[in-house]
Amino acid sequence: MTELLLNSIVNGILLGGVLALLAFGMNLIFGVVKIIHLAYGQCVMLGMYVVYTLAVQAQIPVILSCILVLPIMGIVGILLQLLVINPLLKAKANPLTQLLALAGLTIVVENLAQVVWGADLRGINIQLPIISIGSVFVRTSNLIAFFGALLTLWGLYLFLNRTYLGLAIRSIAQDLDSARLMGINPRRIYLITMATGGILTGVIAAFFSPIYAVHPHFGGSFTMMAFIIVVLGGMGNLLGGFIGAFIIGVVTSVSGVLTSTEIADIIVLIIFISVILVRPQGLLGIRVSK
């Protein structure tokens, strides 16, 4: 039993790494563009279909497919900004309208996937070895995903902290008008943020592809998880999201082993609701008084 528990904790931490990346993307878009990207998990799903199409249908080597998916998903992010978000911002749509538009987008993406790729499970069918450290067994693909996600997060940290562009992104998240007065063009920064968010869905899709087979409703649960993590950590708070991701990752994994996957979802939500009852602003969020 203790071995089982230890295994599930380790795997939960490994899952947490990728979830942290997922939450980071959603958080970044929320912080800068002020839009809750409800189709974020669906974009990851789209990325996995792209990897599948390239690797299996077009017979391109898996590694190359996993690299090609990054610019493709970056372009998807840019298209989303131009076709969905810009019109919303231009119409000064209220938050509910924005939320509904993005919720509508999830339906569009899921059904599009069903039309193009069908309802069956699609996977790239590669088997990476399982390695054991003492009594703990981990899949190499999970290890790659975990360290790859941490490395990506580190890269993003450097980008946000060391470059003028990163500085512009952070300042626009804190005060839009003030950022405009510094000579920052919000439209351009939104586009760059959505492209970055899109590339991140490509990165996650690349890491997920050797682990999961994809189907048209694959994205929904990841949107949900990302959203829970973002709210749990405090909306817009990147560090909070990072911590939240590991909490949710471990809770999901451990309760999945102890009970069943369905019950695990319930336990995650109970923990989430309990935290929000005590701290409505999230773990590291700042309470906004009106």
Binding site: Y164, L167, A168, R170, S171, Q174, D175, D177, S178, A179, R180, L181, M182, G183, I184, N185, P186
Partner: protein, 234 residues
């Protein structure tokens, strides 16, 4: 340098500014005084492009700027220090200054400008690693002014630099404004502290209910019995 002709600005149906015409020349310090809600801040926000105008024209160094977005107006050399400073609270003092030099033409000179600014405001050098929201009110105002200088401006729009500050700190902030003025920048200032503001200025405008009701040199304003009674309290 800056010429405003018959400017009309609305908030939806409510008209905030009526036929405002105003001028700032090279190296000049101009102050706009008037009661709360008269439209002084609106005027500055319209010049810097944060608010749209209904009619009229704004010309800066020969360029029409009244239909341009805010980030292009900064590029031409107008910087706006909003009321309360509007710093980026979760960026360090240094990062606030760095983002001030975001414009490509300012970036190349950022290191030199930064050195100049640390010379002018040594306290910012000492606190460069602190988050902006840990600074005192006076320090915040200094940082806001310093950040705007990082863009290498020609004209500085200064909105209520003394707002919310203790009297002793106000004196210091005005000393800084004076230092900046003596470096040759043109300044268009909005200020509640009419006496201190006038002492620093070359010319002044009085705005009431969105209209310019009086304009003139500093001396005429300081000697005007209506201004003295209503705004200086003598």
């Amino acid at each position: 340098m800056l010429e405003i002709e018959k400017l009309n600005v609305f908030y939806d149906e409510f008209q905030a500014l009526f036929d405002i015409s105003l001028k700032v020349s090279e190296g000049e310090t101009v102050i706009t005084v008037g009661p709360n809600g008269a439209g002084k801040s609106t005027l500055l926000k319209t010049i810097s492009g944060l608010l749209p105008l209904r009619s009229g024209s704004i010309t800066f160094l020969g360029h029409r700027i009244d239909r341009r977005p805010a980030h292009e107006i900064v590029e031409l050399g107008i910087t706006h220090v909003p009321e309360g400073g509007r710093l980026f609270p979760q960026l360090s003092v240094y990062e606030n200054l760095r983002v001030g030099s975001f414009l490509p033409r300012a970036r190349g000179e950022a290191a030199a400008t930064l050195k100049e600014i640390y010379g002018l405001f040594p306290i910012l050098d000492e606190r460069k690693r602190q988050f902006a929201d840990t600074l005192s009110g006076g320090e915040r105002q200094m940082l806001a002014i310093a950040r705007s200088l990082m863009s290498r401006p020609k004209l500085i729009l200064l909105d209520e630099p003394s707002s919310g500050l203790a009297p002793r700190v106000v004196t210091r902030v005005f000393e800084f404004v004076h230092q900046i003025k003596s470096q040759g920048y043109a300044i268009l200032m909005v200020e509640q502290n009419v006496r201190k503001g006038l002492q620093l200025s070359d010319r002044a405008y009085l705005i009431e209910s969105g209209r310019i009701v009086k304009e003139g040199l500093r001396k005429t304003f300081l000697d005007d019995s209506y201004i003295r009674k209503a705004y200086i309290g003598l």
